[in-house]
């Protein structure tokens, strides 16, 4: 009977010992992990501080101004550019009279016809950058006018495939702000 009891206690003692050592090592490992994590956090924080300082250094007004001069050429806002109410924004000036467009079209017709391929190639840049008339093709000089009133140049449409890139119908020009708002709501 004593043997059974001894065996039981022996098993119990060794089991407890194993469990205890296991827990101890686990705790140690966790502590190590915690210390590592803390150190890593501190290191990250220090790195963030360095990066913050660098960011502040690189975005100091002096530097931004130099960058602006080099890449953007923005200038301070003048009072004229500041409008505090929508009503201060002027309406777009009225379109040039029909005659002017007709003259432009006639001039274009009079000039020697452009080679077949060229207008097609030139069409895309012209359509996107209508504000800047191309210098090479005299026939294309009427493009801004065309963009304003595409329907006014039917005979040109045959030779100029550009028309496809142009919006089909120009909206009626608004006379006032109220008119414009009414137009926008109507178009929705």
């Amino acid at each position: 009977m004593i043997r059974v009891g001894a065996l039981f206690w022996l098993v119990l003692v060794s089991g407890t010992a194993f469990a205890m050592f296991g827990v101890k090592y686990q705790v140690q490992a966790l502590e190590d992990e915690l210390a590592r994590a803390k150190r890593a956090t501190a290191a990250e924080e220090h790195e963030i501080r360095v990066l913050d300082a660098e960011w502040a250094y690189l975005t100091r007004p002096e530097m931004l101004e130099a960058m602006n001069r080099r890449f953007l050429s923005l200038s301070p806002i003048s009072t004229k550019q500041l409008r505090t109410s929508v009503n201060d924004i002027p309406m777009r000036p009225p379109p040039p009279p029909e005659d002017a467009v007709a003259v432009a079209v006639a001039e274009a017709g009079a000039s020697p016809p452009a080679p077949e391929g060229v207008p097609t190639n030139a069409a895309a840049p012209v359509a996107t950058a209508a504000a800047e008339p191309p210098r090479t093709q005299s026939a294309l000089r009427v493009m801004p006018a065309l963009l304003e009133k595409p329907s006014a140049a039917p005979q040109l449409a045959a030779t100029m495939p550009v028309k496809a890139a142009v919006k089909a119908a120009a909206p009626r020009r608004a006379k006032s702000l109220g008119d414009l708002i009414a137009q926008i709501t109507a178009s929705r």
Partner: protein, 590 residues
């Protein structure tokens, strides 16, 4: 001895005695059983030990051979000390932009007792840091001490390189260094901290304890963008008029917060002692000097706003009062005249518009010395200003307030105050008459102090109209910024040189406030010893030097501050700033 008797170790037996050989004893019965039992136990124990050793052996083989030594060790590892938190809080501007921060920058030191080959170590170190002198390093390494600095505040790259040298006895010490990313832009406000992180100037010194105690950044009222505009424009004025120095500050008139404060010449807080590459002759003390808070100046005519406000507030003058400015005043050995005299009777608005010394002196005399002193005290001009930076200057004013003092103080001579005190007082004149202490620390929306009512709201309204008049028709027309309804006052003072005023050495200043119909910000600019140039038609007075600069500054900062431009000719603005006593009269241009 005992080793010679391998067979018998009984010392009592005679040496020649040899025991007779005998047959092994074979135990019988119970003895035998006991012996068998013993053997069994021994066997069992050895099996257990063998198993345990086999397990340990296998584990060793497993760790070394199969896992290539990568198994995790359960030995308590050498714990590296955690990096300490920075010992000083950051400083940021009102938008959170970093102005000062603390970065790690280890120092390298040597323990000469551990250095094996000082000559070789010296050679390696000097190769890494070309700035070091090899004799000096060698002397340090052979000094026999146990701690000598090699170089302080390394960059991470330098630290890496020293590590790569691998010299035993050379180690790193954790140290911190204060870094100012914006350099000289905020030099006088932020100040600088020394090598051991104690503040030596500016906010760093004034708020030293706070910065050491807290971890969150200290947020200043400064706006870096506005600071930059002011800095740039003042530098331009100095360059244009080959002036000696300049100072300027921009203040929120309703809260007392200082949005920008610039004093030129300035220094780089990252290298405070280093000479200025542009002006190597300039002394460090001169560049360190904060002209906004520490310098006291006889500001001249801009002081007339206080004289007029006092006279209007205590009722000794009204806007319709007139004073004879035909002839200069002679008192004692002094003679008070006008710079650009009109030589006629002037009304109160005209005195301010044309900046008449005679008129201002007569107004002050009408009010009396008692009142003048009382009002200046109330406006905080007779005491040292209180602000977060440690450099503040006490005002100079006469101990005995004689008549001649009353007259000269009326137009800003014979009293010296700091530009900061002046700005606080001027803000009180236009914001409804409430004096609030100036501050460099951001005030949260609800934390604006009540302030002290120093003049009546009605007088304040009159002052707004009069100061607008100066810019519309008077000496300050060049300060006008279209759309921002600027008002202000010019001031050109002769500098004291020895015992006399030197007429060629000027101190030109301008106080500008905008928008005058609802004052929000004050711009004070001051330039020391400007010299006339071609564009200014031979003038170095405030109207030609700092007034145009103020116009430029306002046009640049107003969009940043969210001040909307208005139509200055609109009836509402005109009505709000109309001076009744001048209605219907033709206003003579300055």
């Amino acid at each position: 001895m005992l080793a010679t008797q391998p067979f018998d170790d009984n010392p009592c037996r005679p040496r020649h005695f040899k025991p007779p050989p005998c047959a092994p004893v074979v135990p019988d019965g119970p003895a035998r059983r006991a012996l068998e039992g013993c053997r069994a136990r021994l066997f069992f124990t050895s099996i257990v030990f063998a198993c345990v050793f086999a397990a340990v052996g296998l584990r060793i083989v497993e760790i070394v051979v199969f896992e290539g030594g990568s198994a995790q060790s359960h030995m308590p590892r050498f714990r590296l000390p955690a990096l300490p938190v920075p010992s000083r809080a950051d400083i940021v501007d009102r938008n959170g932009k970093l102005l000062a921060t603390t970065l790690d920058s280890p120092s390298v030191y040597a323990n000469p007792k551990q250095i094996l080959d000082p000559a070789d170590a010296t050679r390696k170190l000097v190769k890494t840091f070309p700035g070091l002198q090899s004799e000096e390093i060698y002397a340090k390494l052979t000094s026999g001490k146990s701690f000598v600095y090699i170089k302080r505040h390394l960059t991470p790259r330098e630290q890496y390189e020293v590590n790569q040298l691998g010299i035993p006895g050379v180690q790193f010490q954790h140290e911190e260094r204060r870094v100012y990313p914006d350099g000289r832009l905020t030099a006088h406000v932020v100040g600088y901290a020394g090598i051991d992180n104690s503040g030596f100037a500016g906010i760093e010194r004034g708020l030293d304890e706070t910065l050491k105690d807290r971890r969150d950044p200290v947020q200043l009222s400064l706006d870096l963008r506005i600071q930059y505009v002011l800095h740039e424009e003042l530098q331009r004025v100095i360059d244009d008029f080959t002036a000696k120095a300049a100072a300027g500050l921009i203040m929120d008139v309703n809260t007392g917060e200082v949005l920008a404060m610039v004093s030129l010449p300035d220094f780089d807080p990252n290298h405070p002692g280093a000479p200025d590459p542009d002006q190597p002759g300039l002394s460090f003390a001169d560049r360190m000097f904060n002209r906004d808070t520490l310098g006291v100046y006889e500001l001249g005519s801009i002081f007339k706003i206080f004289t007029v406000a006092m006279a209007l507030d205590c009722g000794t003058s009204t806007l319709a009062s007139t004073y004879d400015a035909t002839h200069p005043i002679h008192i004692g050995r002094f003679s008070i005249g006008d710079y650009h005299g009109k030589h006629r009777v002037l009304s109160v608005p005209e005195i301010l518009m044309y900046s008449s010394n005679i008129g201002a002196a007569k107004m002050a005399m009408a009010a009396g010395s008692q009142r003048q002193r009382e009002y200046l005290t109330r406006l905080g001009l007779l005491k040292t200003p209180k602000i977060e930076v440690s450099e503040v200057g006490a005002p100079h004013f006469p101990g005995k307030w004689r008549d001649v003092n009353v007259m000269t103080i009326a137009f800003g001579h014979g009293i010296s105050v700091t530009p900061l005190s002046f700005a606080s007082a001027a803000a009180a004149l236009v914001n409804g008459g409430v004096l609030r202490p100036a501050t460099l620390v951001k005030r949260p929306p609800g934390a604006v102090p009540q302030g002290q009512q120093v003049i009546s709201a009605r007088t304040s309204e009159q002052m707004r109209k009069l100061m607008r008049l100066v810019v519309e028709h008077g000496t300050g027309t060049q300060a006008a910024a279209p759309g921002y309804v600027v008002g202000g006052k010019t001031g050109t003072a002769d500098k004291v040189s020895g015992r006399h005023y030197a007429e060629t050495k000027l101190l030109s200043s301008f106080v500008g406030i905008f928008p005058m119909n609802d004052p929000k910000y004050l711009v004070l600019t001051m330039i020391d010893e400007p010299h006339p140039n071609k564009e200014s038609h031979g003038y170095a007075t405030a109207g030609w030097t700092v007034a145009p600069a103020t116009s430029r500054i306002i046009q640049r900062i107003a969009p940043l501050l969210g001040v909307e431009p208005v139509d200055e000719a609109s009836p509402e603005i005109q009505r709000a700033l109309m001076v009744e006593s001048l209605q219907g009269k033709k206003i003579e241009a300055y």
